[in-house]
Symmetry: C2
Subunit: 336 residues, 2 copies
């Protein structure tokens, strides 16, 4: 593995000049720059990241704290992050905290002890407010994707609008007897979660239109969890004509249960979700679309911009709310 000094010697310049030529710094004659670059390429020179880090104080790495990587939302955000980070020539260091109470906090502490990154992204639900504010004091740009938070810059779907759109869609079709199935929030104080925002929006729509008020059901955030509850719920004579699910996973569990119970969707039951997961198409699920990969790209772009700003500037803690988009498929129709 050739060193910078090898390149410098072969090019007949000092290490300083070689370094400048390679880094693209100005104040190097075009001729030397070209020569150094050529020789570096010939020798297959790669600057030592460790040395560069030590000298510059920059890691060219961004950290991601996430409670999960094997669920659609988190995976998609991560995908967007990785893509954008790559474009900015930054690496991504992954901290999979796992479920809270299952060692997640311990892993968080380990990150605080060892993590060396220029910027940090937390994908929501992984952290309680106290931890989030500790991160905000790290002196590096920190942002959250998935939920609004007062502690850091944040990006998320406009959950109020999403919940409203979903309920209004069914109301517009003529439904008056709706049930909301919310998906469980594990960590956040419930009243701050996207789940709760969607729920409240549903309740507001119900109240506004004078719909029958059924108590909201809460299920584990998974197709299985929703499915188990839906099997029991849909098998009753007084089932609603429409279900507004907090997420597509929940909605899919409901549709599956309906299929198994031979309840026709949408003729006998309308179902709407939020997310637009890939499987939604095959299920014909009407849903409110969001694009987590885009959120991931945006949060990285913000971090890069924050990194470019002069140190000590007042930290930006604003929130970006993405507008939801109704996607009508075949799981919703006027009530029979």
């Amino acid at each position: 593995m050739p060193l910078l000094s090898d390149v410098a010697r072969a090019a007949g310049v000092s290490k300083a000049t070689a370094s400048r030529a390679l880094s693209g710094a100005e104040g190097v004659s075009p001729a030397t720059r070209e020569r150094v670059e050529r020789i570096a390429a010939e020798l297959g020179f790669r600057a030592s990241g460790a040395a560069r880090r030590l000298a510059t104080g920059k890691t060219r790495t961004i950290g991601v704290l996430t409670p999960s990587v094997d669920r659609w939302y988190f995976g998609s955000v991560l995908h967007g992050i990785a893509h954008a980070a790559d474009i900015h020539e930054h690496d991504v260091l992954l901290y999979d905290l796992g479920a809270f109470g299952h060692g997640g906090h311990e892993k968080f502490e380990r990150f605080m002890r060892r993590g060396e990154v220029d910027g940090l992204i937390t994908i929501t639900w992984s952290l309680v407010g106290g931890d989030l504010s500790r991160l905000a004091e790290l002196g590096i740009p920190v942002a959250t994707v998935g939920e609004p938070t007062p502690h850091t810059r944040s990006f998320s779907l406009d959950d109020d609008a999403a919940g409203t759109q979903a309920a209004e869609h069914l109301v517009a079709l003529g439904h008056t007897d709706l049930l909301h199935i919310a998906s469980e929030t594990e960590v956040q104080p419930f009243d701050a979660s996207s789940s709760d925002r969607r729920k409240r929006a549903f309740e507001a729509v119900s109240a506004r239109h004078g719909l029958r008020m059924r108590p909201v059901r809460t299920v584990p955030t998974s197709l299985e969890g929703a499915h188990a509850v839906a099997r029991e719920l849909l098998d009753r004579p007084d089932r609603p004509t429409g279900i507004v699910a907090g997420t597509d996973e929940v909605a899919l569990g409901v549709v599956l249960a309906a299929h198994q119970l031979r309840i026709r969707v949408p003729e006998e039951l309308s179902v709407i979700g939020v997310d637009d997961v890939p499987a939604a198409t095959a299920f014909g699920l009407t849903t409110i679309r969001q694009d987590p990969a885009q959120h991931g790209e945006d949060v990285v772009d913000w971090i890069m911009a924050a990194l470019a700003e002069p140190r000590g500037a007042e930290p930006d803690r604003s929130h970006t709310a993405y507008a939801p988009e109704l996607v009508v498929r075949s799981s919703t129709a006027p009530p029979a």
Copy 2:
């Protein structure tokens, strides 16, 4: 941020001794060690990773090259990797290559240029043989999970056994007219892919039992892809009595299509998959289980062991095949 020299001064020892005390090296009196540790804790000392890297040549980081993070298999492997890496106090650097031909190769090259890791894991399908052998020459432990490969140490489900078990299960139930739906392999030479191994195993079982020979169908690796094909396939009068799907995603697409076509599963159609994804339970899918998170943990353990070995030892390129496990649910039954 306190430095090692601050700790040393406060403890009244040299930096050398402070370093030894903190790193747990031997040859430090218990008294000094304890004092140094206490003072380091009081001061909130965290050693600079960059400086340590430069001095030791170790990054305490392992790299993961994956074609995707938002699909169950990859996400689960990654989860296992992150967990095990954390236990070994190593960081994980994520390279999401994305689909091949969509900039994946370019991202791979960028990794080759900048990636500084002590060990490397590639999750299959992301790399062609040529790239894999370049990695193997990197001088660090390299392993692949998801498919056997001659270029590196590898870990994967025993696909032959999985394919055999799936087909034999339906044969044992009395089926004689089966169709295999394989899931598409994007990158690997097809004859090396797990998809192809499962397919061949299916064909061998068919031949052995003299079953009707239907040409194998290949569909995109997704519920949607399988669903589209299955809708058309199942709507014909001469449909098979059982379907052996290459993966659960494909199997789920088939079951969904059956539901929509009002074909009863398992009465009119048996379906079996491979994976045991979380949604399999709700669908009642009979499947062949594998545990990718475990594979991820194992591969990290192997990397750690390889790291502990003396440099220059002959690289281990053996393969670990995990035994499949049949999980019978309600999607399979004797033919009508």
